[in-house]
């Protein structure tokens, strides 16, 4: 903001015939640039320091911890090398089967959530894009799940899904009582995971829908008109013209949801804590349990190792996604 007048003054001072030596402006410019650089560094310093402390240090600490046995409070770490990784993957019957089950559940979530999110949010965005009236209002309404406080909403879902909750009552009242779940939707091992997937999708659709809506609004109308002139109907236009044009958005929506599915666990922690039994345990929740819910057992290293395994999986996914994006766009 103060740069413009100062620059102008310097320029005038440097002009021939002003009676000032040429070297002085050059020195002043260098000094000014030095000050500007210093200002810049000082402005970014807080972020760099915070990243170094909260990011690099934490990541490095976590990596080292993954080779140790520690409860977070004991004065010394017991070094175990790769044993934590072995225990999680196959060696320890206490952890390996739980991790395997959690990995399977996570895989289901990773397949179902991105697919369903795309399957719901794209048509929703197309419909919303064609709504001429009240589009901002409808957009806001569809976005409500995303901005509502997660924990409160997930508690509300718990009540809705109980044996005497709203969904069972609704099903019975419309004559579909045979579909209701007497043990509640989260109490039956066969419906608990699909229900959790549905709740996760419900939370993911708003962002997906908004991203598609943004993409749809940037589609060149002449392309759509050309398709219509060629005789394409609504369905054909959307399937053969619009859908390929928003493919990059689909990639982003899929990637974001894959990442959330791989690492997210808050919904599962609040709504089921991995239950009933262990039928909705996911890898993120297992890592959290090992770190914080083991009554100070020395399992922080195991939690860290599981976190690094998740990171490796996420990295592979990101690379695959990059490869797919590069070949398609």
């Amino acid at each position: 903001m103060t740069t413009t007048p100062r620059t102008a003054t310097t320029a005038v001072a440097g002009r021939p015939g002003t009676g000032r030596p040429a070297a002085q402006p050059a020195t002043r410019t260098a000094r000014r640039r030095g000050h500007e650089a210093l200002s810049g560094y000082l402005f970014v310093a807080p972020a760099v320091v915070l990243f170094a402390v909260m990011g690099l240090y934490t990541v490095g600490y976590g990596l080292v911890l993954s080779f140790a046995q520690w409860n977070g409070f004991a004065p010394n770490w017991d070094w175990v090398g790769l044993q934590n990784y072995k225990d999680l993957l196959w060696a320890n019957p206490e952890y390996a089967p739980e991790v395997r089950d959690a990995a399977l559940h996570t895989l289901w979530v990773m397949i179902a959530v991105p697919l369903l999110t795309v399957a719901v949010s794209f048509p929703l965005a197309v419909l919303l894009n064609s709504a001429r009236r009240m589009q901002p209002l409808l957009r806001s309404i569809y976005f409500v799940p995303y901005v509502t406080s997660g924990i409160a909403v997930f508690f509300a879902w718990q009540y809705i899904l109980q044996p005497d909750g709203a969904i069972n009552v609704l099903l019975k009242s419309v004559g579909l009582g045979s579909l209701s779940q007497p043990q509640g939707w989260l109490g039956n091992p066969h419906t608990a995971l699909p229900t959790m997937i549905a709740v996760t999708v419900w939370g993911a659709v708003p962002v997906g829908m908004l991203m598609y809506l943004t993409g749809l609004q940037s589609v060149d109308r002449s392309v759509l008109e050309a398709a219509q002139l060629d005789g394409a109907g609504w369905w054909r236009t959307n399937a053969s013209v619009v859908w390929p044009l928003v493919r990059p958005i689909t990639s982003i929506v899929v990637l974001l949801n894959l990442r959330d599915s791989l690492q997210g666990f808050q919904t599962f922690l609040v709504m089921t804590n991995g239950g009933p039994g262990n039928h909705t345990n996911v890898l993120g929740l297992e890592a959290y349990r090992l770190a914080f819910l083991k009554q100070l057992a020395p399992t922080l290293g195991l939690a860290s190792a599981l976190g690094w395994l998740l990171f490796a999986a996420a990295l592979v996914l990101a690379l695959i996604n990059l490869r797919v994006l590069r070949s398609r766009t």
């Binding site: 103060t2 100062r6 000050h35 210093l38 200002s39 000082l42 402005f43 310093a45 807080p46 972020a47 320091v49 915070l50 402390v53 046995q69 409860n71 977070g72 409070f73 004991a74 004065p75 017991d78 320890n92 019957p93 206490e94 739980e98 718990q158 109980q162 044996p163 005497d164 007497p182 043990q183 509640g184 989260l186 109490g187 091992p189 089921t272 804590n273 239950g275 009933p276 039994g277 262990n278 039928h279 914080f292 819910l293 083991k294 009554q295 100070l296 057992a297 020395p298 399992t299």
Partner: protein, 481 residues
């Protein structure tokens, strides 16, 4: 705590604005950068820590995880202040998991109170080994420990057995030394207590406690038949260990007797959980399957007790500590028929007793600068006159020996529960005895397996036994490394 910081920040901002206005923009910019940097780092550097425990020498802070203890503790604190001039501030954080997290976080930030209420003979030793609570063994003499019931006088102490359990490096109490003491008992009792809603029971024609497990199953059938929706049994099975420790284990003890029950957790394939004995005990437990209240597997302990108090179930499995929670939720003790889980008629121990144990204790934190005052407060709570007032206010069994006054203090329902304590060593199920299990045994992992038998009905008793045997053997293998 944050107000002075805000004021300092406001002053700094004013200074920077003054400089800008003086017509020296470069300095102003640098000053602004400096202020921004300081402000950004201030939360980390200046305001990141906290001062520790309570401020004045005559003030103590105490945390508890039991809402039902708050009123009784506050009343005791008022009497303590009158007697000693020391103020005790009591705060409650719940549920248990949140409390555990709170304590761990506070330990990391050196913001612990002076006194913690802890789960006895487990959590207290864990906190001791982690350096969060102090070893008070040298201060608790017989004049103090003698105030407690004889069965819990040693609670909080690292006995030879506890020390042996702590030896494996993956033990939660690894590092403690024999003879150390990290808590004194506060409340006592037991779990495996069945509670029936007298009104619902009367509607089904039940007026007295069942004498055998078979009779109880008949009673469950009757209440379920009378009210198929609300006539079932609730238990907070979302908390993993409840089904295993509150129901299966007392039943298995009654069915098999002490030695064969202990052998279930041994490495002997002829007697362990996959053996005919194990399958018999698991089958017995799975007979509860038709009677679980809908969705009880999704409820935590408070949720299951609440469902019972609200009339959504006719029966509830809990402990002596449940009555206080039921009372908080509008149910009067007189509305409850309470009895210990009865043994099967043909079992080795048809009339088992449930051994009492210290449920919660009091620990001094390692960061407390008022250890002497903290211990004075803990000893004050152990005095019979104080303990009986607390027991009455909290509807809890106090660890202090109350003698002949116990029945009057606790009321008839709670006192009836304590009658389940009376037994011989042979016919008493002792939930605190872990001597027969491998060090490092994790009940939560075992509970995940047994949940698939009942209430989830996913596996047979034989398969459940095999899976539990496999896990149990791995605990032994780890323990013997």
């Amino acid at each position: 705590m944050h107000i002075p910081f805000t004021e300092r920040c406001a002053e700094s901002s004013d200074v920077s604005r003054g400089t800008t206005g003086s017509g020296r923009p470069r300095r102003a910019r640098l000053a602004a950068v400096g202020v921004v940097t300081v402000l950004a780092l201030a939360p980390v550097a200046a305001c990141g820590g906290s001062s520790g425990s309570s401020g004045g020498g005559k003030t103590l802070d105490m945390w508890t995880f039991k809402q039902s203890h708050l009123a009784g503790l506050k009343a005791a604190a008022a009497a303590f202040k009158k007697q000693t001039g020391i103020t005790v501030n009591i705060e409650v954080y719940g549920p248990d998991d949140a409390y555990t997290t709170k304590v761990q976080a506070a330990a990391k930030t050196h913001d612990l109170p002076d006194v913690l209420e802890v789960h006895s003979d487990g959590e207290d030793l864990v906190l001791g080994s982690a350096g969060i609570s102090k070893d008070i063994s040298s201060d608790v003499g017989s004049d103090w420990s003698g105030l407690y019931q004889s069965s819990v006088q040693q609670s909080g102490t690292v006995t030879a057995e506890k020390y042996k359990e702590s030896l494996p490096t993956d033990s939660t109490s690894h590092g403690v030394k024999q003879g150390q003491r990290f808590s004194v008992p506060f409340t006592s009792g037991t779990f495996g207590i069945v509670m029936g809603n007298k009104k619902a029971l009367a509607a089904a024609g039940i007026t007295k406690a069942p004498a055998t497990y078979e009779e109880w199953l008949q009673d469950l059938k009757a209440t379920k038949a009378k009210d198929p929706v609300n006539g079932g049994l609730s238990l907070g099975l979302k908390v993993k260990s409840t089904g295993l420790t509150w129901a299966f284990q007392p039943l298995a003890f009654a069915e098999l007797g002490k030695d064969d029950y202990h052998a279930l957790f041994s490495q002997d394939p002829a007697k362990d959980l996959a053996s005919p004995n194990g399958v018999k005990a698991l089958n017995l437990y799975s007979e509860l399957q038709p009677y679980w209240m809908p969705g009880t597997q999704s409820l935590d302990i408070d949720g299951a007790d609440q469902a019972f108090a609200q009339g959504k179930s006719a029966w509830d499995i809990g402990g002596t500590f449940t009555l206080a929670f039921l009372q908080q939720n509008g149910m009067q003790p007189d509305d409850v028929l309470a009895f210990g889980i009865p043994g099967p008629a043909g079992g080795a121990v048809p009339k088992p007793a449930l051994g009492p144990l210290a449920l919660t204790g009091l620990a001094v934190t390692s960061t407390s600068t008022h250890q002497a005052d903290a211990e004075k407060w803990m000893k004050f709570l152990a005095q019979p006159s104080v303990a009986s007032q607390f027991a009455k206010a909290a509807t809890e069994v106090s660890s202090t020996e109350l003698g002949a006054d116990a029945a009057t203090v606790m009321g008839p329902t709670l006192y009836a529960m304590t009658k389940t304590f009376a037994g011989t060593p042979e016919n008493t199920y002792d939930p605190s005895d872990n001597s027969f299990r491998p060090a490092g045994y994790d009940q939560d992992s075992m509970s995940d397996i047994i949940a698939d038998l009942t209430p989830l009905h996913q596996k047979s008793a034989a398969q459940t036994g095999k899976d539990m045997e496999k896990l149990n053997n791995s605990f032994w293998k780890n323990a013997q490394k």
